[in-house]
């Protein structure tokens, strides 16, 4: 006789065994201790999701600062339409939800003993570790661009190293008729559309306050995120103000001199700046590199299903520090890495199969008043690789594809949606809603 197994009963049978095996282990060890390092978009989202989805898991968030200023919307501080206070958040919301928030620097990880050593000397034990360390800047990768040089030539690209207000003050003090020069790095780097939103928001400010000033953007690559949309908008909103030079047009900056406020390009041109915004090449945050999670590129290879490190088991590396192309290094997509990594970490600890992932990104950029543009993407795991779902995602439509009325409406809606996106995401990840 043949036993008929319906698909449903097969599923039910498969479910019974691993749970029965896992139960005694959980009882013997107590609650699963999930530790998250880094309270930015990835880490705060991980802590929030772990608290919501797994009430029986102990969630600890280790973050050096008591306040977190976002990179997104920093460009609106330059524009003069936001203050830094409105893009700065605390961790009380996450504490209220039951996340144990530890404000200290994670000094070192012992992956064998499964502990995080804090600067105060204490060791925090974990069963699974989620690391969202963000980026460090490669000082010296551009000759002369040291930490000291960044005071005169601000990067404004890592708020915990330098608040955006340093660059803001220099922009405000710039004379009318001056030149705002940007050095923009090659891929991969944090926030691919960010430099171009910055060009837009600086232009927005200059148009009003210093209409004779110019922006010169020196780029180490030949193309960029949302390029046709940005360039159409610049011609429309800021005609004659912005010059963008790609790598093949000698756009790559190889050296800077903060004393003379000059930048030197690959083919030897010396450019004098009134304000120099140098965004240098980047790498995974120090704790990830010190733990051996980064490869020769300076970034951290991870498994596409789980975000578990490909180099050190038991540690999941999410956000900008991870190698997750074709996903961009963005805060939004980091928040979806976070959820998958938490679900996978819990499943792996319990001897279960991690759920199959769907990663999602939405990035809005402000280009002018009531003028926003977007890029979206849906991504999945295909074996060891991340892949974008074919025929999905993409950027807002070009001007020529819409009538004038629809075009104005579309850009205005996306500017409004950008504000909603920023508010929804930040309130969610910091446990404020």
């Amino acid at each position: 006789m043949t036993t008929v197994l319906t698909r449903r009963s097969l599923l039910a049978a498969a479910a019974a065994a691993p749970v029965a095996v896992a139960a005694p282990r959980v009882a013997a060890q107590g609650r699963l201790r999930l530790v998250v390092i880094g309270g930015g978009f990835g880490g705060a989202s991980a802590a929030r999701f772990a608290r919501d989805a797994f009430p029986d898991v102990e969630v600890t968030l280790i973050e050096r600062s008591r306040q977190f200023t976002t990179c997104p919307y920093g460009n609106l501080v330059l524009a003069g339409s936001r203050t830094i206070e409105t893009i700065t958040f605390g961790y009380d919301g996450l504490s209220r939800l039951g996340v144990r928030v530890v404000h200290d620097e994670a000094e070192a990880i012992d992956p064998q003993a499964k502990t995080v050593r804090l600067r105060n000397g204490a060791a925090v034990p974990y069963d699974r570790l989620i690391m969202s360390p963000g980026i460090d800047l490669r000082w010296g990768a551009i000759e002369g661009y040291t930490e000291a040089a960044a005071d005169r030539m601000p990067h404004g690209w890592a708020p915990y190293l330098q608040p955006i207000t340093v660059l803001e003050r220099q922009l405000r003090a710039m004379p009318d008729g001056g030149v705002f020069v940007m050095a923009i790095p090659d891929n991969p780097f944090r926030c691919p559309p960010g430099p171009y939103e910055r060009i837009s928001m600086v232009a927005h400010y200059l148009k009003r306050a210093k209409p004779r000033a110019k922006i010169l953007a020196l780029d180490a690559k030949n193309g960029f995120s949302k390029q046709p949309l940005f360039q159409e908008a610049w011609e429309e909103l800021y005609p004659g103000m912005i010059e963008w030079r790609g790598a093949s047009n000698d756009g790559r900056v190889v050296a800077v001199d903060p004393q003379t406020m000059t930048l030197r390009t690959e083919f030897g041109e010396r450019v004098r700046a009134d304000v120099a915004n140098v965004i240098p090449p980047q790498m995974a945050g120090r704790i990830a590199r010190d733990t051996g999670l980064a490869n020769q590129t300076g970034w951290c290879p991870v498994r596409a299903q789980t975000f578990e490190s490909a180099l050190v088991p038991g540690i999941h590396v999410i956000g900008d520090a991870s190698i997750a192309a074709p996903m961009p290094k963005s805060g939004f997509v980091a928040s979806t890495h976070a959820k998958q990594a938490v679900a996978a970490a819990v499943a792996l600890h319990r001897g279960q199969t991690p759920p199959s992932p769907v990663y999602f990104n939405t990035c809005y950029s402000h280009v002018g008043t009531g003028y926003g543009i977007s890029i979206v993407g849906v991504f999945r795991a295909d074996g060891d690789r991340f892949v974008e779902v074919p025929n999905s995602g993409g950027i807002s439509p070009r001007n020529a594809t819409m009538g004038p009325e629809r075009r104005r409406e579309y850009r205005r809606l996306e500017a409004d949606y950008a504000d909603g996106w920023y508010e929804a995401l930040t309130r969610h990840m910091f446990g404020l809603s």
Partner: protein, 106 residues
């Protein structure tokens, strides 16, 4: 007439299509709802209430209508900004999971 979609019917479809075998069906379904809708909250908010012109999605449509709306976005049948681009990345099963979180209870 639109067919009524119960949680059980949706859940069955979800379990059949799902790749995860080693967790109890109900817990697994709740987790997958949390993961699949993780992107929704990034713009529509933790409670799906929207803001700044972003529509409220919580408790506004029946499950059937919610799924139909997502399919219409995917097929470019309405005139949205981002939702058509987004919906093309998701499966019918995932629309069902989204409906379980956001649509009116039935």
């Amino acid at each position: 007439m639109r067919r009524r979609i119960s949680r059980k019917v949706l859940g069955g479809a979800v379990a059949l299509a799902g790749a995860v075998l080693a967790v109890p069906a109900a817990a697994n379904e709740d987790l997958r709802i949390g993961l699949v809708t993780g992107g929704c909250v990034g713009c529509h908010g933790s409670a799906g209430s929207g803001g700044h012109g972003i529509p409220k999605i919580a408790g506004t449509l029946s499950r059937g209508d919610f799924v139909a709306k997502m399919k219409a976005f995917r097929d470019d049948q309405s005139n949205p900004t981002v939702m058509n681009r987004i919906a093309r990345g998701y499966s019918d099963e995932e629309f069902a999971l989204m409906a379980l979180r956001w649509a009116k209870a039935e």
